[in-house]
């Protein structure tokens, strides 16, 4: 099965969720800034390549884990991809599209904006990491929930925004 995490730019939320899923980030503690910065693709996806799926690695069950950025078209692109794959004869049991964007908080959004749009990469990256460290347990909960669904024979498809009761959900 292929599991595709998606977010706005495919540089922060989806990368972190995919890394937790693959075991590249620890699930039992909050990683250090260096661990985040060492992640492949973390805050490094070029804006002109947003939309392209990137392979993060396999998980312990042998599933392939990808991440992708959808800009502001998350709902529409998830729908388009589902239609496209159905047209190609790929059953929904063979993939999961999981939205990770609703998990990120204001500081990660601000850091991403500074890093990507205003080219203040060092400063912006530090703010994104600070924000992600505060939100990290929610990312772990998202991945754990998805793994539990996989273990219980979940049949795939498009998963809606992940649960974060305190966070305003962006559409």
């Amino acid at each position: 099965m292929k599991i595709i995490y998606y977010c706005f730019a495919g540089a922060h939320a989806s990368v972190v969720a995919a890394a937790i899923h693959c075991g590249r980030l620890p699930a039992e503690r909050v990683p250090t800034s260096e661990e985040f910065a060492r992640l492949p693709y973390y805050d490094r996806t070029p804006p002109e390549l947003v939309g392209r799926p990137y392979f993060m690695g396999p998980d312990e069950f042998g599933n392939s884990i990808y991440f992708i950025g959808f800009w502001s078209q998350r709902r529409q692109l998830a729908d388009a991809l589902t239609t496209f794959l159905a047209a190609g004869g790929i059953p929904r049991s063979e993939y999961i599209l999981q939205d990770a964007f609703p998990l990120i908080n204001f500081s990660t959004k601000l850091g991403g904006l500074l890093s990507k749009r205003y080219r203040l990469t060092g400063f912006g990256r530090r703010i994104t990491i600070w924000g992600l460290q505060r939100q990290y347990p929610q990312f772990v909960a998202l991945v754990t929930d998805l793994k539990q669904r996989l273990a219980s024979g979940f049949c795939g498809g498009t998963a809606g925004p992940a649960g974060n009761p305190g966070e305003k959900r962006n559409t």
Binding site: K2, E48, E94
Partner: protein
């Protein structure tokens, strides 16, 4: 193979798909019904051609590159054969393979101002290009 005709404007991919599949686009309802269906769903499967290819229309607004990368990337990941064709490019590309900026500008923006009056003219031009593509061996 999955063939995706895409454009920022809603009627161009519908027209291209209709011509590719040999459907009638003359009825007023064709575009109206198409538009109603497309508003919530950017990608729509229009049918299967004689060669067994699946023909889809995609309306992406100003996010053409994003949709193209996502679909082509998904095709790579799932090992599907896919071809994305931007209808404006198809309308303006010359036999030499060159794409003239002025004719591209006209194809992109003039129909928007002239409205449905130019639909037949666009359809004729698009039909010619599709036939030429087929002669050149492309699906």
């Amino acid at each position: 193979m999955i063939i995706v005709y895409h454009s920022a404007r809603f009627y161009l991919p519908l027209l291209a798909c209709a011509l590719h599949l040999g459907l009638s686009y003359e009825a007023e309802d064709f575009f109206r019904a198409g538009w109603a269906e497309e508003t919530g769903k950017p990608l729509r499967v229009m049918g299967r051609d004689d060669g067994g290819n699946i023909v889809c229309s995609l309306i992406h607004g100003r996010h053409g590159g994003l949709y193209k990368r996502a679909l082509e990337g998904a095709a790579d990941v799932f090992e599907l054969s896919c071809r994305c064709i931007r209808v404006e490019d198809l309308l303006t590309v010359r036999r030499t393979g060159r794409n003239l900026a002025l004719s591209r500008l006209i194809a992109c923006h003039l129909p928007h101002f002239l409205g449905p009056a130019q639909r037949r003219a666009i359809a004729r031009a698009l039909d010619r290009q599709l036939k030429r593509q087929r002669e050149e061996g492309r699906p």
